[in-house]
């Protein structure tokens, strides 16, 4: 099954994004703890995209696609037309450095990498596709 949510790049819309992910995965009987981890990772990816690639412009739209098939890893695709921020090219800061520099950011990338199994970037007919995969347990 394929699901799609299209939304403007205002960070007030993150709640809608989270509810879309929760609702979709819940319908497929993914466990609550896995849903909450996935929501956390995708919230981070989407807020990064909204803030860094689109400067929170509510007129810039992006799409979140979810593909769920029983027995297969769930595939999430974030599709937009902004500049690519490839988190695989970015090494996450050590926790100690985050504390020392009193940084409020930098945690998110560590989080996404520890939750998701695989993160890939593709260009599909001129659009950026960030593809994240996660093996889940269907109850």
């Amino acid at each position: 099954m394929n699901y799609m949510y299209k939304v403007g790049c205002s960070i007030e819309n993150l709640k809608g994004v989270r509810d879309f992910i929760r609702g979709t995965l819940k319908d497929h009987d993914v466990s609550d703890i896995e849903i909450s981890e996935i929501v956390l990772a995708l919230d981070e990816m989407c807020s990064n995209l909204m803030i860094h690639a689109h400067h929170c412009n509510p007129d810039d739209l992006f799409e979140l696609h979810i593909q769920v098939e029983k027995g297969l890893p769930v595939v999430f695709e974030i599709i937009d037309d902004g500049t690519v921020f490839d988190i695989n090219q970015f090494s996450e800061p050590a926790l100690n450095n985050i504390i020392h520099e009193k940084r409020k950011g930098g945690l998110g990338i560590r989080l996404v990498k520890s939750i998701m199994d695989k993160i890939e970037y593709q260009n599909r007919s001129g659009r950026n596709v960030c593809r994240l995969m996660k093996t889940v347990h269907f109850q």
Binding site: I11, E12, L14, K15, R18, D32, I33, S36, E37, V39, L40, D43, E44, S47, M50, I51, L95, I98, I99, H100, K102, R103, K104, G105, G106, L107, G108, R110, L111, S114, I115
Partner: protein, 106 residues
């Protein structure tokens, strides 16, 4: 809210990139008012994103320097899991309930 000389900050609902500034302001206000004991009630906290976790992280060093004690308590399993994914349960003081939090802060 204040209890036994400690400031109590209650978190309600979801904290994400759009609302983490309010958490930051609440902690800054508590520090600004001179509290050295801060209890953070997470009983009604349904969700916290990395933006919210980052706010807590950003105060760790300052609190150490100024001998301010902060204890979080009352987290649901889901929220507690978010803290432990990043190992923040090792860096922040977390109590089960308010009584335990009060002991940890005193």
């Amino acid at each position: 809210m204040q209890e036994d000389g400690a400031d109590v900050i209650a978190l309600i609902g979801e904290i994400d990139a759009s609302s983490s500034i309010e958490l930051d302001l609440a902690i800054a206000k508590s520090v600004g008012e001179g509290y050295t004991k801060i209890l953070v009630d997470c009983g009604a906290l349904e969700y916290i994103s990395s933006a919210g976790l980052g706010v807590f992280m950003s105060y760790i060093e300052e609190f150490k320097d100024r001998a301010i004690k902060m204890v979080l308590f009352g987290m649901s399993d889901k929220v507690a899991n978010t803290f432990s994914i990043l190992g923040l349960n090792e860096l922040l003081q977390i109590g089960k309930n308010k009584e335990e939090a009060k002991q940890l802060v005193s």
